[in-house]
């Protein structure tokens, strides 16, 4: 199986995530785009492990391990990010990322 397919799919997902982060205003939608980018990286890791460097003895499933860790970290990130967004909504009654410029110099 050619590695081109998974790699190109991952590239497309990553670029869609970049577009979502730049163009969307709702903070929850921005978080969704971040998730898309993380999943693109996961596809890349698994594809490189399984298609280009298949089972060697020591690092048998390193790509899958990294993908698992990324999934767990992304879940934690979604929890904290949604809590921050709820705080933002409670304080400002809006989840528009253009409105949150308190820390802008």
């Amino acid at each position: 199986m050619s590695p081109l397919g998974p790699l190109l799919l991952a590239t497309l997902l990553f670029c869609v995530g970049v577009y979502g982060i730049i163009a969307r205003r709702n903070a929850v939608l921005v978080l969704m785009s971040v998730e898309l980018m993380l999943n693109a990286v996961n596809i890349n890791l698994v594809a490189f492990q399984n298609l280009l460097w298949p089972l060697s003895e020591d690092a048998a499933v390193s790509g899958q391990m990294f993908a698992l860790f990324i999934i767990a970290v992304a879940a934690a990130e979604v929890g904290v990010g949604l809590a921050i967004i709820f705080n933002m909504f409670r304080n400002r009654a809006s989840v528009n990322v253009d409105d949150v410029d308190l820390m802008r110099w």
Partner: protein
């Protein structure tokens, strides 16, 4: 073109279409549901690549948990619906950056890996993954558990209300609507002579129940 490739192309097309719909749909809930389809498609890609355990984890964690979290987030923070309200002014910039990045990256990938056929993916038994987690990767695993605990506590702390108004009864204004509807109906059926007394009584009642 083997069967693997055919299945991969089908799953990949579904995934790509759903991901594009995720960032372009006007309805917030539709965006979250398209994200669920995208994540399920990525689980399918993992299955095609023979990463079974990872596909199951993806289904459970992402499709099961993260999508529900996103739906809760969307429903608790009500937002305006519609393309103009959801997209900011720099949509053109987004298209330019994402398109340029996609062209650059895909050109590089085709140049680097275009000629390679790649190995046929081999199934790794889940037992091997467990052995590797608890022998090679045990320290990152423990660090990850601490990270999850910290994220849990941090999320609770952030999403809690402020200390002043947490469980206390608020000093709220009690709105007095006068008499109950049943007495209103009873008063409407009374003859006009008794109506005066009824309204006077209602007036004193309202004054007695003045909001604090």
């Amino acid at each position: 073109m083997t069967g693997h490739d055919v299945v991969f192309v089908l799953v990949g097309l579904v995934t790509a279409g759903a991901s594009i719909l995720t960032v372009t749909s006007k309805n917030l809930v539709h965006a979250a549901l398209h994200l669920a389809v995208t994540l399920a498609g990525i689980a399918g890609v993992f299955l095609v690549l023979h990463a079974d355990f990872l596909a199951l984890v993806q289904l459970i964690v992402y499709v099961g948990a993260v999508t529900v979290l996103f739906l809760f987030g969307l429903m608790l923070t009500r937002a305006p619906i519609g393309r103009e309200a959801l997209d900011s002014q720099n949509r053109g910039l987004g298209i330019a950056v994402a398109g340029g990045l996609f062209v650059t990256l895909s050109t590089l990938i085709v140049l680097a890996y275009g000629g390679q056929t790649g190995a046929t993916p081999e199934r790794v038994p889940t037992e091997a993954i467990g052995t590797v987690i608890f022998s090679h990767w045990v320290l990152p695993f423990e660090a990850l558990s601490m990270l999850l605990l910290a994220a849990l506590i941090g999320a609770i702390l952030l999403a809690r209300r402020e200390a002043g108004d947490s469980g206390e009864t608020l000093d709220q204004a009690i709105i007095d609507f006068g008499d109950a509807p049943s007495t209103e109906q009873g008063r409407a059926s009374t003859p006009p002579g008794e109506l005066e007394a009824g309204t006077a009584e209602a007036g004193t009642g309202t004054r007695g129940g003045e909001p604090r």
